[in-house]
Amino acid sequence: MPYLFNTPQDQREMLEAIGVASVDELFDVVPPQLRLRGPLRLPPAMGECELTRHLAGLAEQNWHAAKATCFLGGGSYDHFIPAVVDALASRGEFYTSYTPYQPEVSQGNLQVMFEYQTLICQLTGMDVSNASLYDGGSAVAEAALMCMSVTRREGRVVIAGSVHPEYREILATYLANLRTELVTVDAVEGRVPLDRLAAAVDDETACVIVQHPNFFGILEEVAEIRRLAHQRGARLVVAVDPISLGILQRPGDLGADVVVAEGQSLGNPMSFGGPYLGILACREEFLRRVPGRIAGQTVDRRGRRAFVLTLQTREQHIRREKATSNICTNQGLLALRASIYLAAVGPRGLRDVADLCLRKAHYAARHVAGTPGLQLAWDAPFFKEFVVRDLEGNVAARLARARRAGILAGVPLARWYPELDDCFLVAVTEQRTKSEIDQWAQGLAAAPAREPAGHA
C-alpha cells in the first residue's frame, strides 16, 4: 500500500511494545460474530497508472465545458477561473489542514476566513457574514431557521415560486418536521406578484424569501418586497447571484435582512454540482444566531493582532442540542477560492464580468426574437439568464438537435414547472463569444432532420 509505513519488522516491534502477539489480537474487542468472515467484495486494488487510466476513461465519456459550449445555468455557471485561484488554493498548507481549532498554527486559514467575511460584506452590503455554508440551497434553509429564531415566529415562512426550485425543496425538507408552514407564492410572468406575496405574509411570518435575479434570471422588485415584509414584522431574505453584484444594487442597500447565495460563480468549477459554498450574510441583529463557523479579530497575549474562531457558544460542539445549527464544517477551500477570485478581479473586474454577462445574454436573447418558433417567455428585465419558449412545444427535441452541434443549449423547465414544459432556461456567461452565441442560435433554429415541421 503506497500510503502505509509499517514494515513487517516495524509491526513486530510495535506489537511487542504493545504486548500482543498479532494485529488480529488488537481486534479481540470486536466480538467474533460481528466480524466479517471474508474480505469485502470490492474490486481489487489498482496502482496509480491503472487508476489514472480508469478515471481518465470515465472522464472522457463526459461532455465538459471545453468540449461542448455551455449555455446551462440554474445556479451553476461556466464562469472563467483565473489561474491564480487554482495555483494558490492547491497549496497543501491550505487544502490538507482542517478547522482552525489551534489558532496559533492556523492563522493562514483564520485570516482567510476573516478576509472572506469582509469581502462578502463588501459584496452584499451587509453587516455580518459567516465563513460559508454547504451551498446556496441549504443557506436558504439556514436563513429561514435563523429568521424564525430572531423573530420568535414559527408560524410561517413565505417563499417566492421564482426562487430556485431545488432551494425551495431543501427548505421544505428542513421544515417538514417542524411546525412551521411553508407558503409558496407562484410566479406570474416570471416574477413573484406583489399583491399575492403581500396576501401571504401574516403576523406569524418569520421571513419572506426571494431570489434576485430569480431562477428565471429576472430581477424582482426587492425594495417593494422589503416594504411588504417589514410591514408585518417579517424579515427579508434575498438570494443573489454574486456576479450580478458587479453592477446591480447590493441587497444590503435594498434593505435585505439576510443575503444568501450560491458562491460557485466565484472561482469554483462546476464539478457536476459540488463542492460549492453557501454564502450567508446578515444584519447585526442576527449576530448570535448565525449558523456555522465565524472568524473574529482579537489580540494575542502580547497584544498582536490575531484571528480566532469566535461566537462558538452558538455551535454544536459547545451547545449540542441548543446550537443554532448542526453544522460543524465550513466550505473552507471553496471560501478561499471565492476570496482569491474576488481579490483577483477587484471591483472593476467584477463589474466588467457582470457587464459582459449582461450584454452577451441580451445579445443572445435578441437572437431568440429573430428565430422562428422561439420567443422569450416574458418581457421582464433580466441579468445573465432568460427563459425561451418553444412555440412548437418540443423542447427536448430542440435541445437534442443543438446537442448534435456540440451545444448544451439550455435547461428544460418541465421537471420543476410542469406548466412551463414548452420552456427552457438559458445562461450566458462572460466566457461565451459572439460566434458561440451565433452558433447556439443556429443550433436552436436548425430545421429538424427527418422530423415533421412544427406548427405554432
Binding site: M1, H64, A65, E166, L248, Q297, D300, A344, H362
Partner: protein, 488 residues
Amino acid sequence: MRNQQAAQLLFELSRPGRGGARLPESDVGTTPRDDLLPPETLAAQPPPLPELAEPDLVRHFTNLSTSNMSVDTHFYPLGSCTMKYNPKRNERLASLPGLLHVHPYQPDETVPGLLQLLYELQELLAEISGLPAVSLQPAAGAQGELAALMIAAAYFRDLGEPRTKVIVADTAHGTNPASARMAGLEAVTVRSTPAGLVDLDHLRDHLSEQVAVLMITNPNTLGLFEQQVAEIAEMVHAQGGLVYLDGANMNAILGIARPGDFGADMMHFNPHKTFSGPHGGGGPGAGPICVALRLAAYLPAPIVVREADGYRLDYQRPRSIGRVRSFFGNVGVLVRAYAYLLSHGPDGLRRVAENAVLNANYLLARVKPVLPVPHADRCMHEFVASAAALRKERGVSAMDLAKRLLDYGVHAPTVYFPLTVPEAIMIEPTETESRETLDALAEVLGQVVQESSDLLHEAPHTTAISRPDEVRAARQPVLKWTAPDASA
C-alpha cells in the same frame, strides 16, 4: 518568516486603481447597461472590493498558507478528525476536465462516465457498510445525520407512530443532538459506564416506544469498540426503533466489521476523513448515507440507477424526504473517495484499519507512562489521555500541553472532547504515519510534562502569535475589516 504580505490584510494592501482582472472587450457591442436594465436596479459604483496586483495576491496567500500547520507539512494527530495523508493522485484525477468542468444539469447521456462513477461508489459504500441503499447527496457528515433522522421521522409517520425521541451517548459528537433538534426530535443523553461504553441499564431506562432512533458512534469517541452494540441494537429494535451509526470512526473497522451486520439501520460516511478527501481548512466534506432496504424509499432524490441502456439519475421517488442539498452533492469529494477505494481494494482497506489501530495502540503504549489514559490499555483508532492529574498537581492543563506541542512542530490533539473525560487529550495518529513519527510524539510529550508550569502556561513560544484572547473576540466581536476613516 512572516512578512508584511501575510501580516497585512488584503484590504490594507489595496491601493485605488491597482490591479484587477482585464476582461476581453465586448464582442457583442457596448450597449449601456441602463439601456438593458432599469436604472434604479443598478449600483452607482461596483462593490468596494480591494484592489491588488496579481503578484501581491500571490505573495499574500502564499505567505498566509505557510502560517498553517497541515497534513502535508506536519504530524496532525487531531482526534476524531482522521487527518490522514491526502493522496496527490486523487487531486489530479479529480481535476480531469471531464469530471471538473461538467455542469450539473447536463443531460444524463452527456455524463455517462460520471454517472457510472457515482453508481459504483454507491455500490462500494453499500458493501463496506453492509447497508444496501445509498444516497450520495448530503454535503457533510452532519447533514447526513440530519437526512437520516428525517428519514426516520418520515418512516415512523408512515407507520402512524409519532415517535419524538433520539437517544445519544454522552460521548457522542455534538452534531448528533444538534441534528436531532433540527429534525424536530428531542435528544436524550445516555451515560457511559466507567469503562467508557454505553451504559445498558441507563439505556434500558430510556428506551420506549417514543424512541425513534438511537445514535451510536462505533468505535466511540473514546476509541473503544462498543462490544455490546448488537445487544444494544436488539434492545432498540425490540421497541420498534431504528439504530443510526455515526460513521466518523469507520477508519478503525474498514473490512473488519460492517455496521449493517452489527445492527445499524442507517449510517453516514465522512469521506474527507475515512477516504482521505482533503479537509480543505474546514471543508468541503461529504456525508453519503447508507440505509437498510425498508428505508430506501425515503432517501433524498435523485440517486443513480443502472438500467439496460446505461445509468440515469432517478428523481421519481415519491416517498423521498426531498432534497437536503442542491444538485448532486459534493461530487468532487466523492470522486476522491472513489479513487481512494479503488486504490486500496478489499485487502488494502483492511490494512488501513489494521495499521490505524496498530499505530494508535503503539502510541497509546508509549504515551501511557507519561499521561494517564483512563479508559483502557487498548484502543481502536484513537485514545483519550487525560491531564487531570497534572492539572491538579501543577496547574498544567490539557490546553497547556496542546499549545506546547505546537512549539515542537506537532499539531495538537483534540482537547476537551469527549466531555466525559476531564482535561481530555484525544489522539488519533492514523495509519499514514511512521513509527518514527509516533516515537517522536511520545518523546516530546514525555519532555513536555517535565517542563516548568510557567513555560507551559505561556506556550506556544515559537509561533507568530500566542494565546489569542478568545473572550475578547466573543465579547467585542470584530468579524470584518473596517476602513480606519470609516469608523470615525
